[in-house]
Structure formats: structure tokens, C-alpha cells
Symmetry: C2
Subunit: 264 residues, 2 copies
């Protein structure tokens, strides 16, 4: 992987986010409910907002013509082809429960397509940087290139999905079918599940209702490690928030065959 100024800047962003998230993680957690009364619980922490503020400040100072899209504040339009997609804490539920697999998601998009992705797991000191061609894991002062596993069949697949009760109707049926065929299932790991696809210890992730800032960073990381990521129809249209990430094309196709009926 060639170092480029934009990749190095993505790493600077991740470092700045860590400073905001880890001090608050260590100090204890004050979550609040940003959802309106009666809507589903959706915690967001001071860490989330302060980290997004820090990232926006850095981007505005260094690349004032880049667009910015994040979970906490209004979008800023790009003056050119490049823009950043930010989710300072993906996995706020894990964060407030003291569970370590929450991540920071940072992506650089060109004409709307993610070309650089960072999945940073601060509590684990694991940073995944991908550019669709190569993905590296930086951890404990070392770095290594990642490859997905060779898993080609559902019965051998280690499967991750965030919430077993998020799915309804045809989506729920598709998930139940998947769950009954795979080797084992893990829940609640949000973006970290995709990082482990890149690292070769999870073989398949299937999710629905992802927002663009939830998924942009995942694409270059999964593809850079040799994995396949697409929508539930097997294409590349993520507008419905339905995502499949697989270690191999064969596994991707087998999952898509099960999910196709439930695809948007």
C-alpha cells in the first residue's frame, strides 16, 4: 500500500477521534437519548459529538473544499469531487455497556464512492486502513497486510450481525435461514464485524438499515483484503442500507441466493 497524503490524513483523523473517545471511555460514560420519546432507544455520547467536532475542524482546516457528512451534524457540501464520511462511534450501545468492540468509521469518497476507509477500534488498539486494493492492520506499533479467510460455504462460515431482532418480515426469514445454515453466529459488533472479515476471523456479515456513514468506511477495508461487499441482490447499491460482506465470491453468492427474496 502506497502512502498518500490523504491516507496519512485519514490516520491523523483517527488519532484525533481516539483522543476524544478514549478519555471519555476511561472516565466513564454519560449517554443520553437523542431519539424522540416513543422512538427506539438510540444513545449518543458526548464522546461521539466531541470527536465529530474535532474531525470536522481538522478537515475544514486542511481541506476546506472537501465535503463532510457525519451522524451528528448537518452535511457540508463539497467544492469538488472529494468528501469525508464520519461516524466517530459506531457501536454506541457497546460503548455505554463497557464492551470493547465499538469503532470509529472514517471514509474518503470520490464522486460518492468510498476510496479510502478506516475502521479504528481504540479500546483494542487496532486500526484497519483499506483502499479497495490493500488493507493493513496497525496494532501495537506494528502493521501487517490482511487477507480474508478462504471460506466458501455457509456451513463453515463464522457469521456476524449486529441485532438479531432488528429484522422484520422477509428480512427476518432471510436472517433465520442464514443463521440455521452457518457454523456460528456473533451479535452486537457493529462495524468491527467487517474489520474481522478483513482479518480473516469472521467470514460473513449481513446487515440491514445501515446509514451511509455506517457503511462507507467498510467498503475499502473489506475489498482491500480480498473480500466481497455488496447489497442483498448481489449488486453495489447500498441506498436501502442492506449489506452483505463475505470472505470469498462463492460465499457471497451463496448468501445472496438466500437473501435475494428479502432484498429491497
Amino acid at each position: 500500500m502506497l502512502a498518500s497524503p490523504l491516507k496519512l490524513f485519514a490516520l491523523r483523523l483517527a488519532e484525533a477521534a481516539r483522543a476524544e473517545t478514549m478519555t471519555r471511555w476511561s472516565a466513564g460514560i454519560e449517554a443520553e437519548d437523542k431519539a424522540a420519546a416513543g422512538r427506539e432507544f438510540d444513545p449518543v455520547t458526548e464522546a461521539d459529538r466531541e470527536a465529530e467536532r474535532a474531525l470536522r475542524r481538522l478537515i475544514e482546516a486542511e481541506y476546506p473544499d472537501h465535503g463532510i457528512s457525519g451522524e451528528e451534524f448537518p452535511d457540508r457540501a463539497a467544492q469538488g469531487r472529494l468528501g469525508w464520511s464520519l461516524d466517530p462511534i459506531d457501536g454506541t450501545r457497546s460503548f455505554i455497556c463497557g464492551m470493547p468492540t465499538w469503532v470509529t468509521l472514517i471514509a474518503l469518497l470520490e464522486d460518492g464512492a468510498p476510496i479510502i476507509g478506516v475502521i479504528d477500534a481504540p479500546r483494542l488498539d487496532e486500526l484497519y486502513l483499506g483502499d479497495c486494493d490493500t488493507t493493513i492492520l496497525m496494532a501495537g506499533g506494528t502493521e501487517r497486510r490482511l487477507s480474508t479467510s478462504g471460506c466458501r460455504r455457509l456451513p463453515e462460515a463464522r457469521f456476524s450481525t449486529t441485532d438479531p431482532f432488528l429484522f422484520e418480515g422477509a428480512e427476518a426469514e432471510a436472517l433465520a435461514a442464514l443463521r440455521s445454515r452457518v457454523r456460528t453466529t456473533r451479535y452486537g459488533h457493529d462495524g468491527y464485524g467487517y474489520a474481522r472479515v478483513a482479518a480473516g476471523t469472521i467470514d460473513l456479515v449481513v446487515e440491514s438499515r445501515l446509514s451511509s456513514y455506517d457503511l462507507n468506511a467498510l467498503v475499502p477495508v473489506v475489498r482491500g483484503a480480498g473480500g466481497v461487499i455488496g447489497d442483498w441482490s448481489g449488486g453495489g447499491d447500498f441506498s436501502a442500507g442492506q449489506v452483505v460482506a463475505a470472505a470469498t465470491p462463492e460465499l457471497f453468492e451463496e448468501a445472496v441466493a438466500l437473501l435475494a427474496r428479502a432484498a429491497a
Copy 2:
């Protein structure tokens, strides 16, 4: 917490287990299916067996009259009142999926009742040591005394349970009732959920079908931090494998009121 030779020995056991588990965690994972064909998937790794072997060797050398009960090998009867309960890797599914919250469980029992418990999370470098009176967390070379949260009501509770699909019949109904009342739910953290009850970031854990080596170590850790741990009827009979751990007596009672109908 007073240091005692047996507590220091429990820490030595945890250290010996880490040496076996972490080398294999870092090297990659070769799981095998120890369940008979047709039975539920139950992975066990070389790390699990080798760590239990190392712990048994240490106990046999230092305390030849102590009993030993573990997941991987036959029980050894005690020549006196003391015995060890060992589960080198609780959370083998997390381990083989590269997820960091698997733990080593070590308990010392007196006349069958757990009096010292260790929950060690090697990947996270967090060791929880409890003696029913005090619980400490040793992490990153420092240690601090733990207290459970002050959470007294289900609507504010951060709830953890390992497998949302393990429950059937009345147990499944009880779990659904709990899930609909709590603030948020986390899945798949095995013994680490109880460690986080002690640390104050999870308020409630409810599980079923735990074996004695899954639960012995949890009891001194939860109680030492001021939490309550008992069975689904509110008593202390764990023989049915049904466990409730709560941050406060009030939360414990509210959970038990919901679970009582499904109690064994």
C-alpha cells in the same frame, strides 16, 4: 482485599492460562468440533485443552490434596474441603471468531461453595479477582476496587445475555419480557458480561444452561463488587444452570419477578 496465598496462587493460575491461550490467539485459531455429529456446534480449541492441562499441573504440584473440576478432563476428587473449578476459555465461539471478550474462569470452592473467583480477559488485559467481600480489577499494571452500578430498575438496565436463541418455551417468554423492558441488550459476551456487572457498566445478566465451571468464578466477583447473583427463583441453587446477576438487590428482585414463572 487481603492478599492470601490462595489468592496469589489463583493469579498464578490465570497467568499460566494466559501463556497458553494468548500464544494460540495470536498465532491464529484451529478449532475443532468436539460435539458428536448431529449435536449442537460446540467448538473447543487446542488453547482450551492446553491451558487446562497447565492449570492442572500447577494445582497438582502445589496443592495435591485439592480437588479439580474442569470442562476438558475428568474431575479429580478433593482430599479435603477445597477444590478448583476451571474453564480456560469461556466464550470459545468469540475466540474462534477473533472477538476479544472470551475469558478464563478460575474458582476456588470450599465445601462446594465458591470463595475466590477470577475472570481473566487476556486479550483485554483485564483480570477481575473477587472473594465475595471485595473485587478488584487488575489492568495495565494498575489495580482498583470495583463497585456495581446503582441501577435499580429494568427500564434503566443495560442487559447482557449470551445467546438470544438458546432459550425455549417459558424461558424464551421470560427473556422476551425482559428484553422488552430493559434499556439496551448485549449478546455473546459469556462470562465477561458478569465482569462488567462488577465494573458497573452492565447492570443485569440473565442466563440459562450454565455448567458449574461456567458459573463458579462469577459468584465471588459479582458479590465482591456489591452485586447480587442467584438463581431464577431468587435463591442460591445453581444446579439448574439458571443465573441472574444484578447491580442492586432491587434490580435483582424485579428481574426475578419476571423470571419466576420460568424458573426450574
